[in-house]
């Protein structure tokens, strides 16, 4: 097996392993109530904002060709996703209406301490690493959401199914989760293409793995934190 194939297989294994971690298991095991669902949706909007920060930083550090790929990627996120007819932040706010959330609930939302720490960690990875590590760190969160790679479905799909099974809200009505089931599959495939072009040596591979490991560790901490806070809500 060559360097690239081996690397991509490792990345696939890593995103699947996330769902076996104690943090992911605990998070996905917390029974949803309407209040917990609201908390999750608001927090997910903040997570989406943090992704926009990080992709900007990654764009800053990346080679020109990669900048262009990220710029296209951010078109869906920041400006307009043709699948949804709006940007992804607006989509999350709109999704909130289904469970009784208003735009003000998003505007005045506070970032809980453990979540804040994770957001800072992702900022740090995106801004202060070699671009390949930074790029991979952001990419891995979409790869972890790619149902073609993650057995049993990516995170958006699984959370969407929880809303359906535990709150009786059809996944199609959870428009942000539903769009991300598809969008992150497309995004992760487009972004993954760049590895073919830029990973040529063991050093390149190690930079990719460094970013992947650090981001997945932060992701586990983040999901663990969300599960903890959700469990505090009656």
């Amino acid at each position: 097996m060559n360097l690239l194939e081996d690397l991509l297989e490792t990345l696939d294994r890593m995103v699947n392993d996330q769902f076996e971690s104690v943090e992911f298991r605990n998070f996905l095991a917390v029974p949803l109530t309407l209040e917990r669902g609201r908390f999750y949706v608001v927090q997910n909007a903040l997570y989406t904002s943090n992704r926009r920060d990080c992709w900007g930083y990654v764009q800053g550090g990346a080679p020109l060709e990669v900048k262009r790929v990220i710029w296209e990627h951010e078109s869906d996120e920041l400006i307009n996703d043709p699948r949804a007819g709006m940007d992804h932040y607006a989509l999350t706010v709109k999704q909130g209406e289904v469970i009784g959330l208003k735009p003000e609930d998003f505007e005045r939302a506070e970032i809980p301490a453990m979540v804040q720490a994770c957001f800072h960690a992702w900022h740090h990875i995106a801004m202060h690493n070699h671009w390949l590590s930074a790029y991979t760190a952001s990419h891995m969160l979409e790869r972890r959401n790619n149902g073609k790679i993650v057995k049993g479905g990516g995170m958006s799909y699984r959370v969407g199914k929880k809303f359906e099974n535990e709150l009786g809200i059809n996944l199609k009505r959870m428009i942000s989760l539903d769009v991300h089931v598809v969008a992150d599959t497309d995004h992760s495939e487009n972004i993954s293409e760049m590895f073919k072009r830029y990973v040529k040596t063991e050093e390149d591979r190690d930079l990719v793995l460094k970013g992947a490991q650090e981001s997945m560790a932060t992701d586990r901490a983040y999901r663990g934190a969300l599960g903890y806070y959700m469990a505090q809500i009656n």
Binding site: R52, W55, G56, Q59, G60, L64, K67
Partner: protein
């Protein structure tokens, strides 16, 4: 001071700072250069690196800015990174390389010519500025476009002055300097971005001081960079 007066005062100060750049010794030396073909080639290549560094800087600024400002920067970067395909306009890096043809440069010349050492240091300084708190960072990037706005700079922007020198010394008309010509137009439009942002986000003295701090620091780096460019051009026949 009211927020409106404070903004107007800040804007006037920013415009003055940009104009003062042209009275600084490094700018005077650069603008006092007589272009030869070799100098024009070197200048053209180094400008392509400068444009790339701007893309780095704006990326970092986009990362730290609020959501609404991220959108503005994303749109700004369309001209620079992608081009306006519907209008048949290419991105600005391609444009810089294409402009090089009129000075006898091939695309390979851009790839095989190194960045100036002094340029490298300035580029790192600009990146560091772009990673600072977002109001300082955005001012650091936006001020370079204000300094290139023919509406704000008395006697013409840097791009238009350089274009006039190239026309005078090498007989290359402005319309053939497609990169310079584009920036003479685009940077007038882009120069307004900072004020649009300031109107919403710089209501307090602290915010306005942050903008001025970022702008001053960037203009200082700009002077050092132009000085290095002048040295390099002077050393060429």
């Amino acid at each position: 001071m009211s927020a409106t007066n404070g903004l107007e005062t800040m804007w006037s100060e920013l415009v003055e700072l940009c104009n003062e750049q042209f009275n600084s010794p490094p700018f005077k030396r650069l603008l006092g250069t007589k272009f030869t073909q070799a100098r024009a080639q070197q200048y053209s290549i180094q400008m392509a690196y400068y444009v790339r560094n701007r893309r780095d800087g704006w990326g970092y600024v986009q990362g730290s800015a609020p959501f609404e400002v991220k959108k503005l920067i994303w749109q700004h970067e369309e001209d620079e990174l992608i081009g306006q395909k519907a209008q048949g306009k290419v991105d600005h890096i391609t444009l810089a390389v294409k402009e090089g043809e009129v000075f006898g440069l091939s695309a390979e010349a851009f790839e095989r010519t190194a960045r100036l050492e002094g340029g490298e240091v300035c580029f790192s300084a600009w990146i560091r500025l772009a990673q600072r708190p977002w109001l300082e960072a955005i001012a650091g990037s936006a001020i370079l476009e204000m300094r290139n706005s023919g509406e704000l700079i008395r006697g013409g922007s840097l791009s238009s002055r350089i274009a006039a020198m190239l026309e005078r010394d090498l007989g290359v008309p402005m319309k053939k300097q497609i990169n310079n010509a584009e920036h003479v137009v685009m940077d007038v439009e882009h120069a307004n971005l900072l004020m649009r942002v300031a109107r919403k986000y710089a209501g307090g003295e602290g915010e306005r001081r942050a903008i001025l701090r970022g702008a001053r620091e960037s203009l200082m780096i700009d002077r050092v960079y132009r000085g290095h460019l002048a040295d390099t051009l002077e050393a060429l026949a």
